[in-house]
Homo-oligomer: 343 residues x 2
């Protein structure tokens, strides 16, 4: 199967997940108090800042798609896991709202971030409300897996918090003070955890036992780490026209992303050059020199290789959880999509 | 019974609740990842900023005490509601962490607030983790009431968010632009909701039906509003030595607290004087003149009368939920304590 065909299939899957989840997601967000609803609807891209209906680019619905595809792969009825898929999407968006405040990110999905429009307090409070909304979704769910899903999702949120806290701490440290292991652990907590949790919840809703649930969790985590590696590559070499962010955005922000830390840890002259650049302000010329240094220090190749390795590990976990290749197909397509995307 | 005796009984009740809840609360907080645990333990007063053990003044444990007393009042076993009491206390502290960031409050319980010590990102993230920890507590609770409690607590968090958002919005508005009704609704959401929810959860754990649960919720809400009115009086006339805050702290912050809004809405010359003062910076002399204006405009008397009225309403709701005065005794003592405290 060609990449183009796979990509097309993945987009169709994501589109279908978005269509399945959106009515319940919107209905749930509509139950928020008026003052918070506007912030949430702006963040989701459904409204402009003044409350007029909008149709901005929504998120890719990867997490809900993973919940539904995991349930289906293990013989469950994805329709029964809709509330859980919405809960996972709400958790994801709560973390986005807070991360944007914390990182002072000005844009998300090609639009000004919620905190720049409604203020940091509004974005913090709306994020808190989305976490509670996710909990309410699962508490109201009569499915026998809802309690285990809620427990798992809460544990995942704590892991996401740990990852975000580590990310903040890294930014305070000098160029040589973050090890590659710490950086991988941070990415696993910050990105892998929720993708793994989405898969595990889908498995729980299909009535899977502990072993298969754990294998699907591991599949999601590995795919999530691959996803993060690609995201970090895009943060340096992504096309601003497609990412909606300036070129080398992560370098400008002095981010200790995975390719950067790999380059710094390389012991090469290019790594030392990068460390020197990272000690100063990252303006136009410095950004392209830094990107070049990451590449010459092997950071770009390392990240690409790691992403492939993580994908291979994901595929192996998937075959443990879902031995039938036919049943595993959708999950495989989703995992390959997120690690091949260019934006 | 004299006030002193009642106060003594209430303190003993709160002390007992604190002793019941603390071991599980501490054990639960210990499960947080290291990077967040320190922030949480500092916030709870168990550690100093450098991680050394501390025994700073903890919160008054009013909410856990209400959970346990409500369960007992309705014939339940408070020991069965311990996890729920811890969950409520975690939610309360998550909101404190975030509110202090949002309001930029420098002190809490006579110590620098967590965000001033660990930075706003750390306090936001630790708060997020405490919300998740509360959810995990209830998800892991095998008691048949746990699901309904979780649903109720999540709905309550959304109401707390609504109240906090309204509070922020009021600060942006001019002296005459907040009505007393809006202000009462805000206080109900911000303070009444969680006290009501604590009582309702205690009722659920005692196996109470919808009607008694609703009456106990209303009891907690009314008592909570009385509590807020007293708190607002303390925010103007409290003794800095006891509150740990500067004199007239709420006036300095231009807070549209209940006595202030009542004074502004009074249509009196003193109310107009207050509005004029609130348009400028609140320095030393202006603070005492503003306090005086609130009093002359009737804001102080109004708040005291409202607090009494709310307490009367609370007592009425309590007698509906728990007709036996003997069984209702503890809840009554707690409610009267919180509305008579002077700090």
């Amino acid at each position: 199967m060609s990449e183009a065909v796979e990509g097309h299939e993945a987009l169709a899957l994501l589109e279908r997940a978005r269509e399945s989840v959106d009515p319940l997601l919107r209905e749930t967000v509509e139950t928020l108090p008026l003052s918070l609803r506007g912030i949430a609807k702006y963040h989701f891209g459904w409204e402009s800042a003044d409350g007029a209906p909008a149709a901005a680019a929504a998120g890719k619905a990867i997490r809900p798609a993973l919940v539904l595809a995991s349930a289906r792969a293990l013989g469950g009825d994805p329709g029964q896991a809709l509330r859980a898929a919405v809960a996972v999407e709400l958790i994801h968006n709560f973390t986005l709202l807070h991360d944007d405040v914390i990182d002072e990110d000005p844009t998300r999905r090609h639009r000004p971030t919620a905190w720049t429009v409604f203020g940091a307090p509004g974005a913090i409070i709306a994020g808190d409300a989305l976490q509670a909304l996710a909990v309410r979704m699962l508490s109201e769910d009569a499915h026998p897996a809802a309690r285990a899903a809620s427990e798992r999702l809460a544990a995942c949120v704590i892991e996401l918090c740990e990852g975000q806290q580590a990310d903040c701490a890294f930014e305070e440290r000098g160029p040589y003070e973050v090890s590659l292991d710490e950086c991988l652990a941070m990415a696993t907590a910050k990105t892998g955890a929720l993708l793994g949790c989405a898969c595990a919840i889908g498995a729980l809703y299909a009535g899977a036992g502990a072993e298969r649930t754990a294998a699907l969790d591991a599949f999601g985590r590995e795919a999530g780490l691959a996803f993060q590696l690609i995201d970090d590559l895009i943060g340096i070499w992504g096309d601003p026209g497609r990412t909606g962010k300036p070129a080398g955005a992560d370098l400008v922000a002095h981010k200790k992303s995975l390719p950067v830390v790999a380059a710094l840890a390389s012991g090469t002259p290019a790594g030392a050059e990068l460390a020197e650049l990272y000690r100063g302000p990252m303006t136009g010329a410095a950004v392209s020199r830094a990107a070049d240094a990451v590449e010459r220090a092997g950071g770009r190749d390392w990240a690409q290789l790691q992403a492939s390795d993580r994908m291979a590990a994901a595929v192996q976990e998937l075959s443990r959880a879902v031995p039938d290749p036919g049943a595993a197909g959708e999950l495989l397509i989703l995992a390959e999509f997120v690690t091949r995307r260019t934006r």
